[in-house]
């Protein structure tokens, strides 16, 4: 069935399965590294969850060299995600209150996970400490026990706010202004035409970026590459040049959750300003206007903590200290209240010190410890690796609490002996846990107490069967992409409703914009080249030299069928538009045998556009469908339908 669905030859698939299954042995481990090849599908989360289940079954979680690891596409994707990239999360992945929770008590009761088996850690039970400390960081003295620590100041979630939903709302004319910071949505969001139409409905757009992006010129005609009529676009566009990462200090958090400080290397050019300076100036201006002219409910703005040395320029150091948090009063030992754990005014060493009584602040609980009384731990640069496992515990700082391997209690058997003594991550030392990592376990929880490794679940074990956590069912299921060359899902050939992910969200008009295999018989897939980094580096001369011009890759067989030779100009169309590029004919893309049908794939790099140092090109996302994964809403860039002809 697998070979039938995905076209992988049966023997090759079984070989891979054998390799994977071998890692069930205690001294063999497999890691799984995934990136956008897995996530950019309408079943992206299901892909990853399937692998997570396999890793749990093979015992590869918590082991050195094990786990399931996201490879991030930028140096700091992990960092921005940790700091509420998605509006449905607060920093540190805390839940955002909604109108269904009118007060702090209701909110905390609803969101704090319950213990599901006795004696487990159920670490999420500390939510009140993390949440209250966040409010104390943001609103300081204005957050009191009496006013629910300024619970009302926190904006309440009003529906979906992922990138597709924001652009759909914009498309419907429901958005007036758009602050576009370090983001090139015209190029990077699905269905360029829809995005361009959406931007055309704005009153104004402010672009904060180090580069003159395609988005900032969405209104400007660039021949056939951007065929628009500016007289019909009323949107007023402001460009605010910002500095680049090398032109300001700060930190990157990598895929391994290691926070690494970096130092400013050069001054920004011309009038470029740090993003923080632009945001701070804007904030202070608004605050001032509210003070002078009044306005509805300005208290959350007026009372926001803003204790920076230069108010218009919060420094990266001040911000990191604020994320870490500090004690407002002496933090006492709950077992022995005569003992002071942290003195009032001191930076906190770990989130174990956070309190829900308003005596601690913390801008992001998972970052607590990054800037303790010892200073900036993310700036540590000791690369010694005594265990030889790549555990450089004194290099930077990993969240949480400098732990490098999550769920590392699972690297030891129930009695506390390492499964693989050659690669000891953790072991029970008789009175406490020790080894080569910060234990992901209560340090004194003896093995006999049966405290299970998966401390973030209420039952302490990994979840093979997950109820109510995924948009889909408790087990992963296969669905075809929304645009598929197949008429049916081979797993459910008789059920048209199970063809594509039934839990995915499709907006009005987008269904109609899907194409069918009759008109678009080939599968398009988009990806990046090593020579380029998204849409930025087409603006850089050297990268442009390395890959100067937009191209499209096709297999030799399809090329023969279509009379295309390498170097020809070709036109690729989907039901949403077309692009042109040079044909690269390759042995690397073969026709697949899927459900008895020959399926050709067309590979389309994403980097090109009408702004930059490369030869002007089309926006690849002109082609892609406006639908995403049912859980994350990450668009389905990896599989859609196209046709190709000689241009």
């Amino acid at each position: 069935m697998v070979a039938k669905v995905c076209g992988t030859p049966k023997e090759a698939f079984l070989k891979v399965c054998e390799y994977i299954a071998e890692t069930a042995a205690p001294n063999k481990t497999m890691t799984n590294l995934y990136a956008l090849g897995w996530t950019e599908h309408s079943v992206g989360s299901q892909n990853i969850r399937s692998m997570a289940i396999i890793q749990l079954l093979l015992g590869n979680m918590g082991m050195a060299g094990g786990g399931i690891n996201a490879l991030r596409g930028h140096a700091n994707v992990q960092g921005i995600t940790d700091f509420a990239l998605y509006a449905q999360n607060l920093p540190g992945y805390l839940a955002v209150p909604s109108d269904a929770e009118p007060d702090l008590k209701t909110f905390l009761e609803k969101k704090t996970p319950k213990m599901l088996r006795p004696g487990q850690m159920n670490f999420g039970q500390n939510l009140p400490k993390w949440y209250v400390s966040l409010h104390k960081a943001w609103w300081g003295n204005a957050a009191t026990k009496e006013n629910g620590f300024a619970y009302d100041f926190m904006p309440k979630l009003a529906g979906a706010s992922d990138v597709l939903s924001i652009f759909d709302q914009m498309y419907q004319g429901k958005v007036h202004g758009f602050l576009c910071q370090g983001f090139n949505p015209l190029a990077s969001v699905a269905n360029k035409k829809k995005v361009s139409d959406a931007l055309s409905k704005l009153k104004y757009m402010v672009v904060m970026d180090p580069l003159a992006t395609d988005t900032s010129e969405f209104w400007k005609p660039h021949g056939e590459f951007n065929d628009v009529d500016p007289s019909k676009i009323p949107t007023e566009v402001f460009r605010l040049p910002t500095t680049l990462f090398a032109e300001t200090s700060g930190s990157f958090t990598n895929s391994g959750r290691v926070i690494q400080w970096r130092w400013k290397a050069a001054n920004g050019p011309g009038e470029a300003k740090d993003d923080t300076e632009i945001m701070a100036t804007l904030f202070l201006k608004l605050k001032d206007m509210y003070a002078k002219d009044g306005g509805a409910y300005s208290e959350p703005i007026q009372k926001l903590t803003w204790a920076y040395r230069i108010p218009t320029k919060p420094s990266p150091e001040e911000l990191m200290m604020e994320y870490n948090g500090k004690a407002l009063a002496d933090v006492l030992d709950p077992k022995d209240p005569t003992k002071v754990l942290v003195k009032a005014g001191d930076q906190l060493p770990s989130f174990a010190m956070l309190r829900d009584d308003g005596s601690t602040t913390c801008g992001n609980w998972i970052y607590c410890g990054v800037w303790s009384q010892a200073g900036n731990n993310s700036a540590r640069r000791d690369n010694s690796d005594p265990s030889g496992l790549g555990q450089t515990l004194n290099w930077g700082f990993a969240w949480p609490v400098n732990r490098r391997i999550l769920y590392n209690r699972a690297s030891a058997d129930p009695s506390g002996k390492p499964w693989d003594p050659q690669r000891t991550v953790l072991k029970w030392l008789g009175d406490k846990w020790g080894g080569n990592d910060v234990p992901d376990m209560r340090p004194d929880a003896a093995p006999e107490q049966n405290v299970m490794p998966f401390i973030m679940t209420g039952e302490g074990v990994g979840r093979l069967f997950a109820v109510g956590l995924m948009a889909e069912g408790p087990f992963p299921e296969h669905y075809e992409p929304f645009e598929s060359p197949l008429d049916n899902n081979p797993m459910h050939p008789k059920n048209p409703k199970a063809r594509a992910n039934p839990a995915a969200r499709v907006y009005k008009g987008d269904m109609e914009a899907f194409g069918t295999a009759k008109d678009f018989p080939y599968v398009g897939t988009t990806y990046r080249l090593t020579e380029h980094f998204h849409y930025w580096t087409k603006q850089s001369k050297i990268n442009a030299i390395m890959q100067p011009e937009q191209f499209v890759e096709i297999g030799e067989e399809l090329a023969r069928e279509k009379g295309i030779t390498a170097g020809d100009k070709v036109k690729v169309r989907s039901n949403r538009g077309f692009i042109k590029g040079v044909a690269v004919v390759t042995k690397r893309i073969k026709a697949l045998d899927v459900d008895g049908k020959k399926v050709h794939t067309i590979g389309i790099p994403i980097h090109y556009g009408f702004k930059g140092a490369t030869k002007p090109g089309f926006i690849t996302n002109t082609l892609t469908p406006f639908v995403g994964d049912a859980n994350t809403q990450t668009p389905e860039y990896k599989a859609f339908l196209v046709n190709i002809e000689k241009a």
Binding site: T530, E531, K541, I542, N543, A544, I545, M546, Q547, P548, E549, Q550, F551, T565, A566, G567, D568, G581, V582, A583, V584, V585, T586, K587, R588, A613, T614, K615
Partner: protein, 295 residues
Amino acid sequence: MALQSLDIKQRSATTTPSTQVRQTVEIAKLIDVSACIGCKACQVACSEWNDIRDEVGNCHGVYDNPMDLSAKSWTVMRYTEVEQNNKLEWLIRKDGCMHCADPGCLKACPAPGAIIQYSNGIVDFHQENCIGCGYCVTGCPFNVPRISKEDSKAYKCSLCSDRVAVNQAPACAKACPTGAIQFGSKEDMKDYAAKRVTDLKERGYDQAGLYDPQGVGGTHVMYVLHHADKPDLYAGLPANPSISPLVSLWKGVAKPLATLALAGVALGSLFHYVTKGPNEVSKEIEDEIEKEDAK
């Protein structure tokens, strides 16, 4: 030259002895083709360190770009898709100067001191002495040097002699994200290569081996190849490179004579260069060499 720590082994068209007082370590760069992912970070690093920018060209239906070595691209990646025994391999070879122990370019060069071989093995072009005749191009068994259209000087990879002189690895080796480019003493590099070859053999590449062609006395840029029996698979890497017999003939047998005659030509050429430009100069030198060869 100023780069004293490199010490000079030989100079083109020069008969006076080279420096010999100091012994330097013979170095080498090892390119492990089996570990290369074709990212071109090495190409970028080369451009940046040497401060050269080639043209923004066009896509020619392949990944290669720039398409060939040039006065402004001293290294380029060459991509070949090979299908044999039902297996597809994407062979990616970083092309550039091999820094031959017996350099055909230097042997062929009639301009005194335009091509230098340091005692560590690096073959370096000193453009201030180059007369643009293009003889190094003919003399090179790897088709590496390129004459610039802008200044009629020959250019190629210097193995970052300026970096190596201060104990730094070449820029490409420093930039490579996979460790496919290693740098060190030639001996260490051979040891490293031996380990890689053993590993590749264990993985089923029976013909894996080191490319250090003896026809040019060995090279200071070596490759680990998964198919060392078929170097030609890697975008036409020659199996048995050697210096054209013509070059050996006129430089070997008739050396003093040729040198003398050519020194005269070189002087004359300077004059011509000023009045008539470089192309005719090359023509004249060519005639001269043909005369020498005919003897």
